[in-house]
Symmetry: D2
Subunit: 137 residues, 4 copies
């Protein structure tokens, strides 16, 4: 069992039905913040950095938004559902915009780190969308 699963399992007020979605969302946000931080740095090292400035900026925005989202979802006492949903929607949007930009550079400039980062962003967008959906219901 991962440490995250164990931490959530031993929480005195465990998230019931949403537990798996929350864990998936926390992991996806953490992975995405990490991938975007590294992708920004990798872009800075590329010879064609002047074509990657928008990508770097979106990477940084996405990393910061994923970080905040993951932390908020980690605090299991979800009494403020409207804030959570807006935050999850902002995160989904940030991830999709970043994935769009990264996919363009993966395709046109053969940037491998952008291709992997885009995949991680897509997974995070999907996890945020599922989690936001569960909060409505």
């Amino acid at each position: 069992m991962s440490h995250l699963t164990e931490m959530l399992r031993t929480h005195p007020e465990p998230a019931e039905s949403n537990g798996d979605l929350a864990r998936e969302c926390i992991e996806a946000c953490s992975d995405c913040a990490e991938a975007c931080t590294i992708c920004a740095d990798a872009c800075l090292h590329e010879d064609e950095v002047e074509h990657l400035t928008q990508c770097i900026r979106l990477n940084m925005d996405c990393a910061d938004i994923c970080l905040a989202t993951g932390r908020v979802i980690s605090r299991a006492g979800h009494t403020d559902a409207p804030t959570l949903q807006l935050q999850l929607q902002a995160c989904q949007h940030a991830c999709e915009t970043c994935a769009d930009e990264c996919e363009m550079h993966a395709r046109d400039m053969d940037m491998e780190h952008c291709r992997i980062c885009a995949e991680v962003c897509r997974r995070c967008a999907a996890a945020c969308e599922r989690m936001a959906g569960a909060l409505v219901a």
Copy 2:
């Protein structure tokens, strides 16, 4: 002139009409993240901490969301307006929820740090609302 005003003025692509709103919003997010971080710590030190756990949790959520929002607004190349607007709305909500909770403790438990924190949260909510409104137009 504050360092923030100077930094924004010397940016090679300065925000035009939204400049004052952006500066106000960055400052309000930074102040609010700071106030919420201190309010959470102050609540932890209070004798009645068991009545303040929800306040501490909302303080921490608000601090993390304000931080992300301030950073994203600081990156002036606002090409992804939908993400920004959702992030500003999430921040406005987080600030209002935190202010509601803090005001309750200011009133019922005479908590001075909660009273001041609530004021800072209200200012940040208003700044986020104005900034989000300017992005639509």
Copy 3:
């Protein structure tokens, strides 16, 4: 292969000999920030929260320091070794202090989330120590 391994492998200037240590350190910091954030929230939900305030505070400090450390290590152009080493040492210390506190509550109050959090903190402290050692050499 994990996304992190792939991201680091496709970086245009991959960390040579330190690559595995860097990956291990980034992962450990991310896991520890996550565990500490959840442990703080779990502590806030416990009936004996008034005995856990120091633990919550150390959890929050440790989460913030791990986050900064993981991000800095993720930016592979390590030209400022003295800063990195001090940051790794600060992180090692924060993790050890937090582990000490958590272990006490795991033992005396049978707090399972504190026991798991302490293990994650110990792993992070060890990873930071190894990484700091590699930077000297």
Copy 4:
């Protein structure tokens, strides 16, 4: 009185002799994180971005380290002095390295945002040094 002064004044366990140094340090870290975030974005917008990649990377490291340092100092229950001191030293180093790099671009490339950012970094380095000194005594 600033909100920060008021927040620290109404904390149930106010920092005694170190109070002014702590406030100064929290403010300096917050200003520096802000200036570095904007400087990184401004550098990304410059035509000569390929000469500014090291500056951008150091700006981001400095912003992340200042953020963590400011948050840790904001939690007034300073029972773990060794961690605090190492964190303050890491922050001082990060600020000085970033200031050195920014001053170079201010001089050689006439970058105004780098000149202002360097000043903010120097102030933060000095505030961290003073705060670290007070913790020893």
